[in-house]
């Protein structure tokens, strides 16, 4: 099966390389996102020893290390992964370079949304997990950046008469759930969180997106210079409101490497208590 190429992975890598120079600027947002994701670990009683974290931007690895875990950090960008103090590997999420059953915890912090072959990546993650190992990820989902998308589409149609794709087609919650199931994780859970972000100026928002390495990396993007009037009118339109609310909606994905020690569903008809009795009590 051929995988549709939606994202220009070279561009994603270039954006992340550039983001490495500015990682301090957006550290606060990354920290809050990482905290929200990692607090899930506090609800889990079992301990983890060997951990792979992907896309942690120097924030995730120290938290895990402070919990006494052996951490390997991975990122598509050599520059961005080198800000980690943990063991680091420059890697492509679509071609993970690890042996099967290498880790008992894999964490992907807001970086799987630039992957073309997401089902393939998840399958590989499942393979490098040990039985009963945990996969934990945060992925931005719709309607993240919808304010920006709406304004840009509207203005571009009006001024230029056609629309170039500018905002990443994020998955929705349901797609995430399907993906987890398809990859064959045991006990998959997907739920939604929201991080409220409010900007005073449109330029500040654009700057943060750039500093985060989250600017447009779509294959079908405009290859020529963007119309100056179009950008100006987008900014004016965004500035109409005093505050620009751009909430980050994200899905938290959890799934386990299948293991016989986990609870298994019964076969149909294989029950000892009748539903009728259970409802009566």
């Amino acid at each position: 099966m051929t995988v549709p190429v939606i994202f220009n992975r070279k561009l994603v890598r270039y954006h992340r390389d550039r983001a490495a120079y500015h990682h301090q600027t957006i550290q606060d947002i990354v920290q809050i996102g990482a905290d929200r994701l990692l607090e899930r670990l506090d609800d889990i009683q079992r301990s983890f020893t060997d951990v792979l974290e992907i896309g942690g931007r120097g924030v995730v690895a120290p938290i895990l290390q402070s919990k006494g875990m052996n951490v390997v950090s991975g990122d598509l960008s050599h520059r961005l992964v080198s800000i980690n103090s943990a063991l680091s590997v420059c890697l492509d999420e679509e071609y993970l370079p690890f042996k099967a059953h290498s880790f008992d915890l894999v964490i992907a912090n807001f970086n799987l949304h630039w992957v073309n072959d997401l089902p393939g990546s998840l399958l590989q993650i499942k393979n490098i997990l040990r039985p009963d190992g945990l996969f934990l990820a945060a992925i931005p989902i719709l309607p993240t950046l919808s304010t920006l998308r709406d304004v840009m589409t509207e203005e571009e149609v009006e001024l230029c008469g056609r629309v170039f794709p500018r905002i990443s087609p994020f998955p929705d919650l349901r797609a995430c759930a399907t993906l987890m199931q398809r990859a064959g994780f045991a006990l998959p859970v997907v739920d939604k969180e929201e991080l409220s972000l409010v900007y005073r100026s449109a330029m500040a928002l654009m700057k943060d997106l750039r500093f985060a390495g989250e600017t447009n990396a779509l294959m079908e993007q405009q290859k020529t210079f963007t119309n100056k009037d179009f950008l100006a009118s987008c900014i004016t339109k965004l500035q109409d409101q005093d505050e620009i609310a751009v909430p980050l909606h994200f899905a938290v994905l959890t799934g386990w490497g299948p293991d016989s020690s986990q609870q298994q569903p019964l076969q149909p008809g294989q029950f000892s208590v009748s539903l009728e009795d259970a409802l009566k009590n």
Partner: protein, 71 residues
């Protein structure tokens, strides 16, 4: 060839879990050249500043002769 001497040796813990991203086959660590060799894919992945770069785009293609040398 500037990376040869500057790249610190790779951590054995990391080495024990790494495989070729393309073939998932084993890698040979060439300390001198600071490269990880995948014979099956005939590729040499560079190690920059102690960080293995496991990207197919960045890997050096090996000739049959070179591959045979590692086998």
């Amino acid at each position: 060839m500037t990376e040869q001497s500057s790249s610190p040796p790779i951590d054995p813990r990391l080495l024990s879990v790494l495989v070729c991203p393309l073939t998932k086959g084993p890698l040979i660590y060439d300390k001198e050249k600071s490269e990880l060799i995948s014979c099956n894919a005939a590729l040499a992945y560079p190690i920059k500043e102690g960080i293995p770069v496991m990207l197919v785009d960045e890997a050096r293609h090996l000739t049959d002769e070179e591959v045979n040398k590692y086998k």
